[in-house]
């Protein structure tokens, strides 16, 4: 789960990391009032779960409260990478002397959290990583001892020559590392970590991604979810216990298991079609999940054919068949349906489907070919 910048800033502030002041607004009038209170130049920043906000025009500097309100009226409601901006963060414009990068992520290869820092912070950090990887310093942390003081200071000294600034940055790193485990983050980034003209080290922008598997034991973090900032179909899918990602094609796919779902999409492409979605109904099946899946797929007007690919293991083919029959009783399907199922309770499933007037295939390639042909017809 992604947090908004303003939520991430609140978490860092609560954990003792210096963050410049800032307030969230949903209307231009609120922005004007906040800017008046700050009494100086402010930055108005779109709060959406997408990178490249600045390049999309979602981050603007304003010299006066009136100008801040004017920027806000343009930014609120704008779409960035398909997501509508509903909140803006208003902060006093910082007087920046230097910009660094600080990030913590669990590295699959090292099987540990890795702290990464670079004196070349700011928006083009990925460019820095690709072209001049030596400018990024990394340290894999032993989770039994955490990020030790001398390790943090060693990293901080690659950012700052001034020992007071290095100590301040090291303290931020140790707090950030502790925050990772405390809130269940799979990624925390401060970019940029800035020094101001008066020498202070502070977190100007922050990004936090929470491991979805942590949400159950961190209800206070789960409560930060902003469903309004996510695609409605994905919100509906999560509520139904499905994993769904909308794509641009015409073949609506409904599969059990992520690997098989991806392989099915690949096969659709192989036979000349385009998948309309990635949809994994998950391990344990019940007919209601299948009904929800069909509702979500058919809500997409670009879907021209629907393909079920089920390999029964824990998922029972008869559950899927019952779900399909139940769904078609609840609402009319206007696009053709191609069903492939094999594995647990396959015979029973075929019987259920045949009685309801559907036919079922057992071969994956044959089913994909038919669905692609139907979508093109």
């Amino acid at each position: 789960m992604n947090l908004h910048e303003y939520q991430a800033r609140d978490i860092l502030r609560q954990r003792g990391i210096p963050v410049p002041p800032g307030e969230v607004a949903t209307t231009p009038d609120q922005v004007r009032a906040i800017a008046t209170r700050f009494g100086d130049r402010v930055v108005v920043k779109a709060q959406v779960h997408a990178g490249g906000r600045g390049k999309a025009g979602g981050v603007k500097l304003a010299a006066t409260p009136a100008e801040a309100a004017e920027h806000a009226s343009k930014i609120l409601g704008m779409t960035i990478k398909g997501l509508t901006v509903r909140h803006v963060l208003v902060t006093p414009a910082a007087d920046i002397a230097s910009e660094s990068y600080l990030g913590i992520i669990v590295d699959r290869a090292a099987q540990r959290p890795v702290v990464m820092v670079s004196a070349a912070g700011g928006i083009d950090i990925e460019e820095v990583a690709a072209r001049t990887p030596e400018r990024i310093h990394r340290l894999a942390v032993d989770p039994r001892y955490g990020l030790l003081g001398h390790q943090a200071l060693g990293l901080a000294l690659t950012l700052y020559r001034d020992i007071a600034q290095a100590r301040a940055a090291a303290d931020i790193m140790q707090r950030l590392y502790a925050a990772c485990y405390a809130i269940g983050a799979s990624l925390i980034e401060i970019n940029p970590l800035v020094t101001t003209r008066d020498g202070a080290v502070t977190a100007l922008d922050a990004k936090i991604v929470i491991d979805d598997n942590e949400l159950e034991r961190h209800p206070e973090i789960a409560a930060l979810r902003d469903s309004g900032a996510e695609a409605p179909s994905e919100v509906a899918a999560r509520a139904a216990g499905l994993t769904f990602i909308k794509l641009d094609g015409t073949v609506g796919c409904c599969v059990n298991g992520a690997g098989l779902a991806m392989a099915t999409m690949d096969l659709v492409k192989y036979y000349g079609g385009q998948p309309a979605d990635f949809l994994d109904i998950g391990g344990r099946s019940n007919p209601q999940k299948v009904v929800s899946a069909l509702k979500i797929i058919t809500a997409d007007p670009s879907v021209r054919a629907i393909l079920f690919n089920i390999f029964g293991g824990i998922t029972r083919c008869d559950d899927v068949a019952n779900g399909i029959v139940q769904a078609t009783r609840e609402f009319r399907l206007t696009v053709p349906l191609v069903i492939r199922l094999t594995g647990t309770n396959e015979e029973l499933a075929v019987k259920i489907l045949t009685q309801a007037g559907f036919s079922a295939l057992t071969d994956m390639d044959e089913a994909v070919k038919q669905s692609v042909a139907q979508a093109a017809a």
Binding site: G51, Y101, G103, I104, I105, V106, D107, R108, A109, Q111, R112, P113, V114, M116, I125, E126, A129, A130, D142, P143, R144, C180, Y181, G184, S186, L187, E189, N191, V209, D211, N213, E214, E216, R217, I245, L247, G257, A258, G259, L260, M262, A263, M265, D266, L267, V268, K269, Y270, P275, G283, F311, G312, G313, I314, T315, T342, G343, T344, M364, D365
Partner: protein, 289 residues
């Protein structure tokens, strides 16, 4: 022979009285696996299906039944704890089926398991099966056939699809292992490849990867340097959208190396026969044997 499990496997099922644990314990017993014990705290002293003794702790189960392999079906919230317990009880092979364990929990579990000299398979995996001999996990026994192809995969149902392709065309398996789809797992491709390379009853290897991470690239290098048996490989996610990036840090760590195209190219460079679709598995094996 087979790798990791065989007729000497004496299995303890953690979570044997739960919904998933009881269902799959019965399936494993029916397949012929020697299930010697179950563990559910608070239910020690009972018997599962009137036969398998249930204990409160894994340590007790090991003491009383000489269990040498554990399989875990407990809920995600207590699964990390179940792995710690099995490793502490001296179990050398631990298979964790449970999905949904937080990645940060695994950063603590893995060093603990390694220090005790245990092997963990998973989490979030279907387990493993040596057809006709033993099954630990949830891979449906009826789609497998005894034979000489080793299968190692990051997926669940996609693995079943490929096993199904093999079995129905007469290519049996020595062992099939699902290593799990999570970012942090106990046993990787290389450890399985090395097991298959050393196994006198495995003639060829099928390796099924996915987008994300760089395990497949490292495995490809290992194949090139060490594996003399034919290897056929598949990568799922060739059409997956590049979006859903984890901020800058994810890109800095992996660059473009997590894509299917990059992984398939690494396979090809290492001399692995690359499948474009699951149905290519048998034709490519035939070509390489």
């Amino acid at each position: 022979m087979s790798i990791f499990i065989d007729q000497q496997t004496r299995l303890v099922v953690q979570g044997i009285t739960g919904r998933d644990g009881s269902f799959h314990a019965r399936q494993m017993i029916a397949y012929g696996t020697t299930v010697v014990a179950g563990v559910t705290p608070g239910k020690g002293g009972q018997r599962f299906d009137d036969t398998v003794p249930v204990f409160d702790t894994v340590a007790e189960a090991v003491r009383e039944t000489q269990a040498n392999t554990a399989v875990i079906y407990v809920p995600a919230a207590v699964a990390a704890s179940a792995i710690f317990e099995a490793a502490d009880a001296g179990i050398p092979l631990i298979v964790c089926i449970t999905e949904g364990i937080p990645v940060l929990d695994m950063t603590r579990v893995l060093p603990f398991v390694h220090e005790r000299g245990a092997r963990l398979i998973g989490p979030n995996c279907p387990g493993l099966i040596s057809p006709g001999r033993s099954k630990v996990g949830i891979i449906p026994g009826n789609i497998c056939r005894p034979g000489r192809v080793g299968v190692v995969s990051r997926s669940g149902t996609l693995t079943y699809e490929i096993i199904h392709q093999l079995s129905t065309q007469g290519w049996g398996q020595s062992t099939c292992i699902g290593i799990g789809g999570d970012p942090l797992i106990g046993t990787n491709f290389i450890q399985c490849l090395s097991g298959f390379q050393a196994d006198a009853e495995t003639d060829a290897i099928v390796m099924i990867g996915e987008i994300g991470g760089t395990d497949e690239q490292q495995a490809a290098e290992f194949v090139q340097q060490t594996v003399t048996k034919p290897v056929v490989g598949f990568i799922a996610g060739q059409t997956a959208p590049p979006g859903r990036r984890m901020g800058h840090a994810g890109a800095i760590i992996s660059g473009s190396s997590g894509t299917a195209a990059e992984k398939m190219a690494a396979f090809a460079r290492a001399g692995i026969a690359v499948m474009k679709r699951p149905a290519d598995v048998v034709p490519l094996l035939r070509e390489r044997m």
